[in-house]
């Protein structure tokens, strides 16, 4: 397979893709307003912007998954209408989604066959998949079921699927959030190889360093509009950040903790078979979180994060001795009982787990904060719940329509502030937070990180599980890595770096021995 050669087009100097004045409005938000953008053949073009800037919507417009209200799309110099993804694929546009569009119960080759036209012949296709995956350094077994693949492997499936359609334009939406630093470098090699063959690449990201390393042009978006265009190789991270968020990147203050450092949360050789058929087995996990510190667990989701969190929060109880909270063995207790003993937990999924989407903030306060006098003799105290929600809204700067606003009407960042606030206001001894700033804008992210730091310095033990390495390096005192259901020893931040953490993410770390765990 060779990508479609496009000399006539490039000779004429026609851009591969031109967007002219694209606008798209949703009932509540203006996602894109008057967005224009030009991509040349063989160009690696970044679309840069923070969460909610309208990048994803714009890409969906190009891919035909969303219809723009206004504006034109020019493809190789010709005006085109892209009513659906099939039309986009027919033009030669391929897309690798941020949240993958793969089907877990089907095999790799079945997944790929679904998006290809022509004859339905799985055996021939499997051979082709192997060929392409080898050629671009993306090794894959076509007959594996997708649910048995790692997140990185799934991304390869998506990329190979696009490549089999001879794309002239490849769109990647936040592709590196699921990759180790080493795997990111491999991906960049593949992308550069593709670009040298004439394929244009639209690279969507909010990671400034990556964009400066990979891309030749960048279109910066903010609040649905284009706020600038630049050659990222000529810019500094600070200047790109100014374009992206309109000011300097905020930083967190991490003061020293001068209180007594005592163990609050102890995980002792925790092992567990997954409840879920697609889950990960946890093996011999050991970690201690002390008062006054933030401990981070790095690693890519799907390596046991969900299982570990459920075991720690009590959503799936484990053996009694495996989890100790303030000296008491609580492994066998459920989530409510652990909360009674001073544990707070902020899950990754805000809507539907951390909060009930169709309930008001006052009702959502009751979800975990009923311990704060919101219930008496088994009966609800409505005024108390409203008052609690109101205090939370004010103290944590939650922008919303008051305590009667439905949880689902809040933006990701504001809902996260509410949930974090609700948990902090219950004065926990230990706080566990998963992906604290996932899908949250830069300003709210900084606020949340500072809040967690301040909380730890008040004597609380904070455990953060995150995919974002930058975030962990910013707020954590010690960092461990969860890979394949095993946890590396937690290392003080100053004694490690992204490279070492990246290696550990691929499972390359020594098993913790008691001495080392202690030394850490």
């Amino acid at each position: 397979m060779t990508p479609e050669p496009t000399p006539p087009v490039s000779l004429r100097g026609e851009p591969r893709l031109q967007l002219l004045h694209i606008s798209k409005r949703y009932p509540a938000v203006l996602a894109n307003e008057d967005v224009s953008l030009v991509v040349q053949p063989g160009e690696i073009h970044a679309v840069l912007g923070e969460n909610g800037a309208g990048k994803s919507t714009l890409m969906k417009v190009i891919y035909g998954a969303v219809k723009a209200d206004m504006g034109e799309i020019m493809w190789n110099g010709r005006q085109v209408d892209i009513p659906d993804p099939a039309a986009a694929r027919a033009l030669g546009i391929g897309m690798v989604f941020q949240h993958f569009s793969l089907f877990e119960t089907l095999t790799v080759v079945e997944n790929i066959a679904l998006s290809l036209g022509g004859e339905f012949d799985l055996a021939t296709l499997a051979v082709k998949v192997k060929e392409v995956s080898q050629r671009y350094g993306l090794p894959l077994d076509p007959l594996r079921h997708v649910h048995s693949l790692s997140v990185g492997e799934r991304q390869r499936v998506e990329i190979v699927r696009c490549l089999l359609q001879n794309p002239q334009l490849l769109i990647l939406d936040e592709p590196t959030s699921v990759l180790t630093p080493q795997a990111v470098r491999k991906l960049f090699e593949t992308l550069r190889q593709l670009a040298s063959e004439g394929v244009s690449i639209l690279y969507i990201s909010h990671k400034l360093d990556e964009i400066r390393e990979l891309c030749e042009r960048a279109t910066v978006m903010r609040g649905g509009r284009v706020t600038g265009e630049a050659d990222p190789r000529q810019e500094s991270s600070a200047s790109l950040a100014r374009m992206m968020i309109g000011r300097e990147l905020p930083h967190c203050e991490a003061p020293l903790f001068d209180g007594e450092r005592k163990p609050l949360l102890e995980i002792r050789s925790l092992s567990r078979e997954p409840e879920d058929a697609f889950g990960t087995r946890l093996t011999d996990i050991a970690l201690t979180v002390h008062s006054g510190e933030v401990v981070g667990i790095a690693g890519i989701s799907g390596n046991g994060q969900a299982e570990l969190l459920a075991a720690l929060s009590g959503e799936t109880p484990v053996a009694r001795e495996m989890v100790h909270l303030c000296g008491e063995a609580v492994g066998h207790r459920d989530a409510g009982a652990r909360r009674d003993r001073g544990l707070s937990f902020v899950p990754e999924e805000r809507l539907g787990r951390g909060a009930v989407p169709a309930m008001s903030l006052a009702d959502n306060a009751l979800l975990t904060a009923h311990r704060e006098g919101l219930v008496r003799h088994g009966m609800r105290r409505f005024a108390a719940a409203r008052e609690f929600a109101q205090r939370c809204i004010e103290r944590f700067d939650v922008r919303c329509g008051g305590s009667s606003a439905l949880a689902r009407s809040l933006s990701g960042g504001n809902l996260q502030k509410f949930i974090v606030g609700r948990e902090i206001m219950q004065t926990p001894k230990v706080m566990i937070v998963a992906q604290p700033t996932w899908g949250v804008d830069v300003g709210a992210s900084a606020f949340l990180r500072q809040t967690l730091l301040d909380l730890s310095r008040s004597g609380v033990g904070v455990l953060v599980i995150s995919e974002e390495l930058e975030e962990l390096f910013e707020i954590c005192d010690r960092i461990a890595v969860l890979a394949g259901g095993r946890l590396s020893p937690a290392v003080p931040r100053g004694q490690t770096n992204a490279e070492a953490i990246g290696l550990a993410m691929s499972g390359l770390f020594a098993q913790p021995t008691p001495e080392r765990a202690h030394a850490a």
Binding site: Y26, V66, P85, A86, A87, F103, A113, L114, D276
Partner: protein, 308 residues
């Protein structure tokens, strides 16, 4: 012994046939992610429509099957508009369809209470029917039974071997992803639900024009529900559905032969056997959560609204 066994086994196949039709239809609908609890209602509507058509046209079971399929499809269309286009709760809409179907079939059926039909004679398939044991059991049956084998083969082949089957499974697992890839999610789900309706309608028509060729109010007697349970028991696989249907056919037939075999249990309690067996079978299969999870269409019962 064998002279007892052959009529029991042959009868088992007949009793299993409505369950195979209805179960296959529900299996396809559920594979697309839509659970239709209206099978019982669609069966009854199919039964009364089939019976009425057979009586009015004099076209026999053939006309009955066509009319049953058409009526079942129409009933499923009401359900599909409600649950797919309007994204209503699938369980509640299915219940509504069943209640409506029981009422509507009784309403239409009252004109036909005193009629009866000749039914279908068994057709011995040349050569095959002379195989010992298998011949009289499998190949000396009526055309309705043979047709159910054909439908079984087609459903199995489509699900396992074709792109259409793959798309159906994909939509059932994640309509969001399927939509993002540009599959016609609604068309596929409509198709699956309507097919389910047609099959339930044929199941009903088989009951009223072949199995007990007359109209009795509520004659499906819970078979629609048993078919829904069978789909779970089958872990959404056609082959296991067939086995499950035969198992239930066997339980149904055994209660008729029980007295002859010297079992001293009141007939009413024997009649409860298929329902108790359904519960037992559900318990046995459901306790293995991982097995269910690996096979369950992940989006089953969830409404899909693009862009939510």
């Amino acid at each position: 012994m064998i002279e007892h066994l052959i009529p029991i086994l042959a009868g088992t196949l007949g009793a299993a046939t409505p369950l195979i039709y209805a179960g296959l239809g529900e299996l396809v609908a559920e594979r697309s992610g839509v659970i239709n609890l209206g099978v019982e209602g669609m069966m009854l509507i199919g039964a009364v429509a089939g019976f009425a058509a057979a009586v009015e046209t004099g076209g026999g079971a053939g006309a009955g099957f066509l009319a049953g399929a058409a009526a079942g499809t129409f009933a499923a269309l009401c359900f599909a508009v409600l649950t797919l286009s309007l994204a209503a709760n699938q369980s509640a809409a299915g219940l509504a369809l069943t209640i409506f179907g029981i009422g509507l079939s009784a309403f239409i059926g009252q004109h036909y209470v005193s009629h009866s039909l000749p039914g279908l004679k068994p057709v011995a398939l040349p050569l095959l029917s002379s195989i010992p044991l298998l011949g009289p059991v499998f190949f000396t049956q009526d055309m309705g039974v043979y047709l159910s084998f054909v439908f079984f083969g087609v459903v199995w082949w489509v699900l396992a071997k074709t792109k259409l089957g793959l798309m159906l499974r994909a939509v059932g697992e994640s309509p969001e992803s399927a939509h993002a890839l540009g599959f016609p999610v609604f068309a596929i789900r409509y198709g699956a639900v309507l097919f389910g309706g047609a099959m339930a309608g044929i199941a009903g028509a088989y009951l009223s024009t072949v199995y007990t060729p007359m109209w009795v109010q509520n004659m499906s007697a819970g078979r629609g529900w048993i078919a829904v349970a069978l789909v779970v028991f089958a872990t959404w696989k056609p082959g296991r559905l067939l086995l499950g249907a035969w198992l239930f056919g066997g339980v149904t037939i055994l209660q008729f032969h029980a007295q002859a075999l010297g079992v001293r249990v009141p007939s009413q309690l024997l009649s409860a056997l298929p329902y108790i067996a359904t519960i037992v079978v559900l318990v046995l299969i459901s306790r293995d959560r991982k097995l269910l999870q690996l096979n369950l269409p992940a989006s089953l019962g969830k409404s899909f609204v693009p862009g939510r």
